[in-house]
Amino acid sequence: MSLFINIQEGEDQLPEVTSDKGRLLWISSVDHKQLGIMYLWLALFFFIIGGLEAMLIRAQLAVGDNDLISPEFYNQLFTMHGTTMIFLVLMPALIGLATYLIPLMIGANEMAFPRLNAFSFWMTCLGGFLMYFSFFAGGAPDAGWFNYAPLSESNYSSTQGVDYYLVGLILTGMGSIGAGLNFVTTILTLRSPDIKLNMLPLFAWMIFINGFLILAAFPLLNAGLFMMLIDRQFDAHFFIPSSGGSAILWQHFFWSFGHPEVYILALPAFGIISEVIPVFSRNKIFGYKFVAASTVAIALLAFGVWVHHMFAVGMTNTVNGFFAASSMLIGIPTGVKVINWIGTLYKGSIRMTVSMMFAVAFLIDFTIGGLSGASFAIVPIDWQLTDTYYVVAHIHYVFLGGTAFGIFAGIYYWFPKISGRFLSEKLGKWHLWLFVIGFNFTFLVQHVLGILGMPRRIYTYPSRFGSWEIFNMISTLGAVMMFVAIAVFLWNLFITLKKPRTAPKNPWEAWTLEWATNSPPDLKNFEEVPRVHSRRPLWDLANPDNPDKRLN
């Protein structure tokens, strides 16, 4: 083996991982397609781990007075489940899709800063594995995914777990900031000269706005994380009330990041849905400008609603009233988007592929999640329901029924582009129906459990509470269905990746630039970027006698 490797370029395909050289070319890669694929594998890896943690939680809660899992281990499980799913699954999956697709969509051959791109990925990867190393270092973090002080301070949480949580999240946070910087600069500087900002595909628009959200939200989290790390490691007093600190300040820092984070995870999913629905209903997106502009409105409002996570803290009525109003206000731009998507479906020639069905499932379940969210904006309801299973149901409708369904729609949609192969539609439909039905079984009843008063984060409950036991059993059975669905999905991935590459350039007859490249694209994406005159360049090429209105 020689010391220097001939870096492949131009017409070459992505390197295979079956040889030493191929593996080295992946590890050392700065190519946005390879990094995007590695992000997606990372997300899938942690999705399996986080899913197994969820299954253990559901197994423990299936019946009352269960002692399958010790209370200490249960605390670690739900903390790691939440942290994993948000920071190590949804974030890398969305950033991965964006890293793969943004240069393709804007007619560029690379991201603006390829090495920063690799840095971002490896930071995220390192942070994730570091967090999981805590299991071997005396115990995982156990103070919940939002890690409230003073519970998370060293006098109440004496294992090293929370330290791993803090350092892990600081690292993944830096990775996310790097990705955000890269997305914004790429979209601003590397667009094909034809493409004006108002001609970007909506996915690119969402990622663009999302970049700014990441840049503004993650530093707030990092500041809080650093302060808590200094508390724990150097005996500072930031969040320890007994020595003059303020536990509430941690909550402010965390949620002033945490609520924008909800939109950081939702906006890219909105983008995916805004690509999938028009293509499979053979309609232009209804109200492009409204979708784009309402995103800007969401991004601005996102920083003015965080106190609705803290209504139970006991702030003044004026503060609570203000944040209740702003929280309801943010429902409006989100609702506008739902109307846009339904408007796109209207009178369309709908093709019910698995991708499209996930998009429709997204529309329904995300709307339910949005409505339960709006109910939390009403202060008295929040006081009644906070820290019950109603919150658990709500967060899962938003993140799983919303973001994760969006990601699945995107995976089924772009899989032929990324790998050159079609995922099996038949297995895909098993995946879809089992997952969607299992999901609603699991979490719909948790709304009822919350109203009945079951608190979140309890490791067991008395079995004499008959109705609790019934609903929890239904919830666990639903979780088993989702478990089977994911097994089907993995099997689908496994057999598909063994097939030969057969996908044509543009199998779905889509209209955005990524479908003008080979499937999968060569290492150099575009030899020649097609001319773009409207929001649907490939439509114009396919229908020269009936092109869209020229925008440049």
């Binding site: 910087l181 914004v184 500087t189 503004a216 993650f218 530093p219 707030l220 500041a223």
Partner: protein, 183 residues
């Protein structure tokens, strides 16, 4: 925007701004919105810190002069003023380190109370950013001592923006930590 290095740095300092705002909010919150009295402020020497502030501001000025020299392809002037900026930055850091030593000798430490925690965290993170800036400037200097290459001209735009940012952050830190207790 053609200069993507400068654009990246502008976005990054926008992001960093939020980081420092969070740290400053912490300090101001403990001092003005709790019943505790600031135990650190009475031991701070605002005049001494003010003099070191002037050094940091001067370093921004010399960096601007060196940029002007670079635009006129006066590489000797560029090197001299770049070196001067680095020296001024090091003087500022030296001032901060000696201040820390003095405070620790008076038993004012990171773990003393919440004000000690806030003071050392806030000024420490700023000092860390100054040190990173000095390293970046040093890299530029070492590169330019060879034949100045294109990459360092592009890099210069980003580093310059960063250095001014560190400077401006210090002005806010100086105001909130050293000046407001005197008002």
């Amino acid at each position: 925007m053609k200069d993507k290095g400068k654009l990246l740095m502008l976005l990054m300092i926008g992001s960093e701004t939020f980081f420092f705002i969070a740290l400053i909010i912490g300090y101001v919150y403990y001092r003005n919105f709790t019943e505790a009295t600031d135990t650190v402020a009475q031991h701070l020497d605002a005049v001494r810190a003010g003099i070191f502030t002037l050094f940091l501001i001067a370093s921004s000025g010399t960096l601007m002069i060196s940029k002007r020299a670079l635009n006129k392809e006066n590489f000797k002037g560029f090197n001299i003023f770049l070196l001067l900026s680095i020296v001024l930055g090091i003087v500022f850091i030296t001032g901060q380190v000696t201040e820390y030593i003095g405070l620790y000798q008076k038993q004012i430490t990171l773990s003393k109370d919440v004000f000690g925690s806030s003071f050392f965290t806030l000024t420490g993170f700023h000092g860390f950013h100054v040190i990173l800036g000095i390293l970046a400037l040093l890299i530029l200097l070492i590169m330019s001592l060879g034949k100045l290459r294109r990459v360092s001209i592009a890099g210069f735009g980003g580093v310059e923006v960063y250095w001014h940012f560190v400077d401006v952050v210090w002005l806010f830190v100086f105001y909130f930590v050293y000046i407001t207790p005197l008002l």
